[in-house]
């Protein structure tokens, strides 16, 4: 019985995912997305990548209501670059929170012109 329940659950998950996948237009306009895709893409893969980015952004604290719109505004290429890598991509945050030990080193390297962490340093040329 347990195995049966699990099988049914799996089937339902697949069906639910299937509902959200945009099917290729049977007739009508060739869309800009289609033209810019390098070849006929795997739509299921695209869809999964988009879902992956959405879930990851939510796990990084993005607001659940806003995240759908955020992901929709990304192109397929941007999605494929982000999928599975959000934890490694650069995220510009700025200069707050640099530890004191690092502070001294960075002060020196700033003055040497190798880095530029602090706005008040002036590098030697």
């Amino acid at each position: 019985m347990h195995a049966f329940n699990r099988a049914v659950a799996r089937l339902l998950i697949l069906c639910t995912i299937g509902l959200g996948i945009p099917l290729p237009a049977s007739a009508g306009i060739v869309t800009t997305d289609q033209i810019h895709a390098s070849a006929e893409r795997d739509r299921v893969k695209d869809f999964m990548a988009r879902e992956d980015v959405r879930a990851q952004m939510q796990s990084f604290g993005a607001d659940a209501d806003a995240v759908r719109e955020r992901v929709d505004a990304l192109t397929d290429q941007e999605i494929s670059e982000l999928a599975g890598r959000i934890d490694q991509m650069p995220a510009g945050g700025g200069i707050v929170g640099v530890l004191f030990a690092v502070f001294i080193i960075l002060l020196v390297t700033d003055i040497l012109g190798l880095t530029k962490v602090f706005p008040f340093t002036r590098s030697v040329r």
């Binding site: 800009t32 033209i35 604290g61 719109e69 955020r70 192109t75 995220a91 040497l112 530029k116 962490v117």
Partner: protein
Amino acid sequence: MAGVLFLMVLLGGCATPQVSALRANAPGSLPQQVELAAVPFFPQEEYQCGPAALATVLVHGGVATTPAALVPQVYLPGREGSLQAEMLAAARRHGRLAYRLAPRLEDVLLEAAAGNPVVVLQNLAFAFAPVWHYAVVIGYDRGREEIILRSGTTRSLVMTFSTFERTWARGAHWAMVALPPRQLPATATETDHVAAAAALERVSADGARQAYAAALEKWPGNLAALIGAGNAAYALKDLPAAEIAYRQATIDHPRSGDAWNNLAQTRFELGRRNEALIAAQRAVALGGPRLAQYQATLKTIAATP
């Protein structure tokens, strides 16, 4: 230790590759000195240099927004920062053409000289312990070899070209402008600009339509821009304009099945069934990876008396 220090002083004194290139052969059109003093300044709060930098360029371009309003669009709390892709996407959501510059210092300066402030990603520290930071280039002085930025809590941060290049190189030379879509970036290339317009089309058909128009003025006959212009007009339910764009695409690119297919569909919806049928037959005869779609279009049209 002294040796290491000496080496570091040496390194610090060396010109970076792009600065040397700029010294050797800067384009004649590049002014000596630029400062876009009218660009607003939003001092960043906490880790939010992303929203601050984005607000700086958007407000300068006439969008009514604030860093606080942009936080829910670009800030990722778990990363204490903003992703590059989202900086581009959020600019598009405000109807702006988000264009990523080629990784050249010269291009950053050319955009500033054209009046376009440039968002740049810097790694202010080291590759092994990065401090990622967004700032906005608002000017430079070639004689003094200095760049001027709106950065963090500093209104006008002056940095030598060399130091800027090092910190910017560690951010993989990432730079973007966000412009009203009718305006072409000073350093725009044909392929990248049309791709940027297509990205805008995802969120703003109206903005994309303007961006395609700008592209076609500069590069008439670009197939992706012609079909894009048609698709944007089609999305805005302006079928006559869509028909004109697709027809032009079939004239300039008679072997584009996509152009014929979209022309067929639009003519069909305009009630010009016979002309639609001819166009759909052309698309099917040309074939290609989307043949099944062309065939479906033809079938729909043929089935209608």
